[in-house]
């Protein structure tokens, strides 16, 4: 198929998919080879860069998805149809540890954090951001955990290697203010999920 014909078709497929879609699956649906799909995707990216759209093509969880541009977040939140997760610090810390150290046991998470993490882990499991991978082959056979596809999707990561680089410390970092954690988030969302400016 001509690239000029293929590009909008690929756009339609990405648009219509109910989650990130792999180039491989697009190729399958269109009965063409993946290289062609990749050129169409590139053409789309060029197109979006040239003429500003409300959304962009994000590479996420091994596939592609159209997502609105981050600078529009405030306005979109005002539409109020999304109810985003708000992570507590314990949840975020545990999630980070699981993401970087998977497969990991609960006691490893707890050793690193210095506190019981059972209920946080349970919540992460319920929210499907973390899953049970099986059991570790050591005495006691503890369960081992890892992150899910939903985790990648939520944080817009193409795969685990796209996680922010873990900074190795050889000394203490300058003190970050308590509360600075949330400081630079546009926390305009009130309980109804509606924003008020």
């Amino acid at each position: 198929m001509d690239i000029l014909e293929l590009t909008p078709l690929v756009e339609a497929l990405i648009f219509a998919a109910d989650g990130p879609i792999k180039a491989e699956r697009i190729a399958e649906a269109l009965d063409t080879d993946q290289a062609e799909i990749m050129s169409a995707i590139e053409a789309l990216e060029v197109d979006y860069a040239e003429r500003p759209r409300g959304f962009f093509l994000q590479q996420v969880s091994g596939g592609y998805q159209l997502r609105t541009r981050p600078e529009y977040a405030d306005y979109l939140r005002r539409l109020g149809h999304s109810r985003p997760f708000k992570f507590s610090r314990p949840a975020m810390e545990s999630l980070a540890i699981i993401a970087y150290r998977q497969p990991v046991t609960r006691s490893e998470v707890e050793y690193l954090r210095g506190v019981d993490s059972g209920s946080v882990l349970k919540t992460l499991l319920e929210k499907r951001l973390v899953r049970i991978l099986g059991k570790k082959d050591i005495p006691g056979k503890p369960m081992i955990y890892g992150t899910t596809r939903e985790f990648l999707e939520l944080f817009g990561l193409s795969d685990l290697s796209a996680l922010p680089t873990l900074r190795e410390f050889s000394e203490l970092a300058p003190e970050e203010e308590n509360g600075a954690f949330m400081a630079n988030l546009p926390l305009l969302v009130d309980e109804d999920g509606l924003t008020e400016l």
Binding site: T68, Y100, L172
Partner: protein, 260 residues
């Protein structure tokens, strides 16, 4: 409580645990992480624990464990250097494990903050909410990607609702803290130490876990046991701090523990 303590008590809410608190104290006092003045940090830490007394016990539990660790490190540093039995073997600084844990914790604390700021679907970025009707027709995709968690949750729900004796699995045997203290003491008898995790292994039930933990805290408080950490693996070991008698039993008046 003086003003300073109140301040601490309020701030405590902001700490995720003992490591977070220690990290804060070290930074605040501009201490050298590789040469932590154990006496000073332990004092400050214990002052805060005092302020925490009004808070509940289990919270204090994790903080207490760290207090024991700090005290242990401090005492180890105070010990006069003994004539080395094996002079070849280089002895590690008793603070080394703690330093490693603090640096490691700092690493994850920092990256969790980075992750928090990462543009997030549903908060910063939005995808299409409603899938096309065209693609909904074809739903026979088969079973994929449900987690073990779902399987377990389903089982739990079934058992919760189910009649008959299956429920006994959930029933808890009544255990007293006193009994558990004696169990711990007797398992320590004739042993040099027990791994902390071993006390909680073998599919121990939740309430047993809590009772065991409370018992440990009591034993620490009574100075009957000490916790130590193995530097290479980070395992927490439980050591008897006193010579235990034949039976290993401790005559404790249950009521004084305040758990009943």
């Amino acid at each position: 409580m003086n003003a300073g303590m109140e301040n601490y008590a309020i701030q405590l809410e902001n700490f995720e645990g003992p490591l977070d608190l220690l990290l804060h104290l070290i930074k605040k006092n501009e201490m050298d992480i590789y040469d932590i003045p154990m006496a000073a940090i332990t004092d400050q830490y214990l002052t805060i624990l005092d302020a925490m007394k009004i808070l509940n016990l289990d919270l204090a539990g994790e903080f207490l464990l760290m207090a024991a660790t700090l005290l242990h490190i401090k005492s180890k540093l105070l010990l006069p250097k003994m004539v080395e039995e094996e002079p070849e073997e280089e002895e590690e600084d008793p603070r080394a494990e703690l330093v490693r844990r603090l640096l490691e914790y700092q690493k994850y604390k920092e990256v969790s903050q980075t992750l928090e700021r990462q543009p997030r679907l549903g908060r910063d970025l939005f995808a299409r909410a409603a899938p096309q009707p065209e693609v909904l027709e074809d739903t026979e995709a088969g079973f994929v990607a449900v987690g073990l968690y779902d399987l377990l949750a389903a089982l739990r729900d079934v058992l919760k609702e189910s009649p008959e004796q299956l429920v006994h699995e959930v029933n808890m045997e009544q255990l007293s803290v006193k009994d558990r203290i004696n169990v711990i003491l007797s398992s320590l008898q004739g042993q040099e130490s027990i791994a902390f995790v071993d006390l909680f292994s073998g599919g121990i039930k939740r309430n047993e876990l809590i009772v065991t933990f409370l018992a440990l805290l009591e034993l620490v408080k009574l100075r009957m046991v000490r916790f130590m950490q193995n530097t290479s693996h980070g395992t927490i070991w439980l050591f008897p701090a006193v010579v235990l008698d034949e039976t290993g039993d401790l005559d404790i008046i249950e009521d004084t523990l305040g758990y009943t």
